[in-house]
């Protein structure tokens, strides 16, 4: 169930990031930094969509996507507190923050390989 929810989240977030192609083109010369940021998000979106087939094998990518969004939201929050960005951009802080926290919270735990290594040769516990 948890994996299915994560897959849905990855597809939704992946599609949203791929949709960043629109601001990439729309703000191309007006806001070069936006175009460059969006080039990273569009690529991340494609990778999240591909990784949705097997989230457990791509846990590091999912964790990266989560922390990158939290970092982005953090920088924007500081910029807002310094009055360097406008109030209307607060929506971006909230959005990136939520996406980041959800992805981090849903990142699959480390593969059971290490547990299997630990358990090799171990006897089953007595009932």
């Amino acid at each position: 169930m948890r994996e299915r929810v994560l897959k849905v989240v990855m597809v939704v977030v992946g599609l949203a990031f791929v949709a960043g192609m629109y601001p990439l083109i729309a703000f191309f010369t007006k806001e070069p930094a936006v175009a460059m940021i969006m080039s990273l998000y569009v690529t991340l979106g494609v990778f999240l969509l591909v990784a949705a087939r097997d989230p457990a094998a791509n846990r590091n990518l999912i964790a990266f996507a989560g922390w990158a969004n939290v970092a982005h939201a953090g920088v924007m929050a500081v910029q807002y507190s310094l009055h360097a960005i406008e109030r209307q951009e607060l929506g971006g802080v909230v959005l990136f923050g939520i996406v980041g926290v959800v992805l981090i919270a849903m990142t699959p735990r480390k593969p059971t390989r290490e547990l299997a290594t630990v358990n090799v040769g171990a006897k089953a516990p007595a009932p």
Binding site: L24, F28, T29, E31, P32, A33, V34, A35, M36, I37, S39, L40, V42, T43, L44, V46, F47, V50, A51, A57, N58, N60, L61, A63, F64, W67, A68, A71, H72, G74, V75, M76, V78, Q79, L82, H83, A84, I85, R113, A116, T117, V120
Partner: protein, 136 residues
């Protein structure tokens, strides 16, 4: 040998990206109210700093982090395409954009070239299960 070369590249690229923290902090410390300045660049660098940290963490076992390394490579290409196109659209920034694009293309190409194959990843996963580190 190939894995060692990849690890060296990952450390170098990771450190380079993490060093992006400096311009972000510097920019935020000297920001003036209402001056948007390099705000977009700071946001972009926050992604690179995070990617740098993840690359450094992935160095211990690159074979298990193919998708992250692949993302680092392909996002470098995507960023380079945008930057080099901007270089032709914004003549005043041409040198900076094209120089940055060249660096990103080199990073992307080297990472993709050294990226472990899928089979190799499985071998690594199987080989590491319960195996001790080889004696140097």
């Amino acid at each position: 040998m190939r894995e060692r070369a990849l690890k060296v590249v990952m450390v170098l690229v990771g450190l380079l990206f993490v060093a992006g923290m400096y311009p972000v902090v510097d920019s935020l410390r000297h920001v003036n109210a209402g001056d948007r300045g390099d705000m977009g660049d700071d946001m972009m660098l926050s992604l690179y700093v995070t990617l740098g940290v993840f690359l450094l963490l992935a160095v211990r076992n690159p074979g298990a982090h193919r998708s992250l390394i692949g993302f680092a490579a392909w996002s470098s290409f995507a960023h380079a395409i945008v930057m080099s196109t901007l270089g032709f659209e914004v003549p005043s920034e041409r040198a900076g954009f094209l120089g940055g694009s060249a660096v990103l293309v080199v990073i992307g190409a080297v990472l993709l070239w050294l990226l472990p194959g899928k089979e190799q990843r499985e071998e690594v996963a199987v080989g590491n299960a319960g195996a001790k580190a080889p004696i140097a």
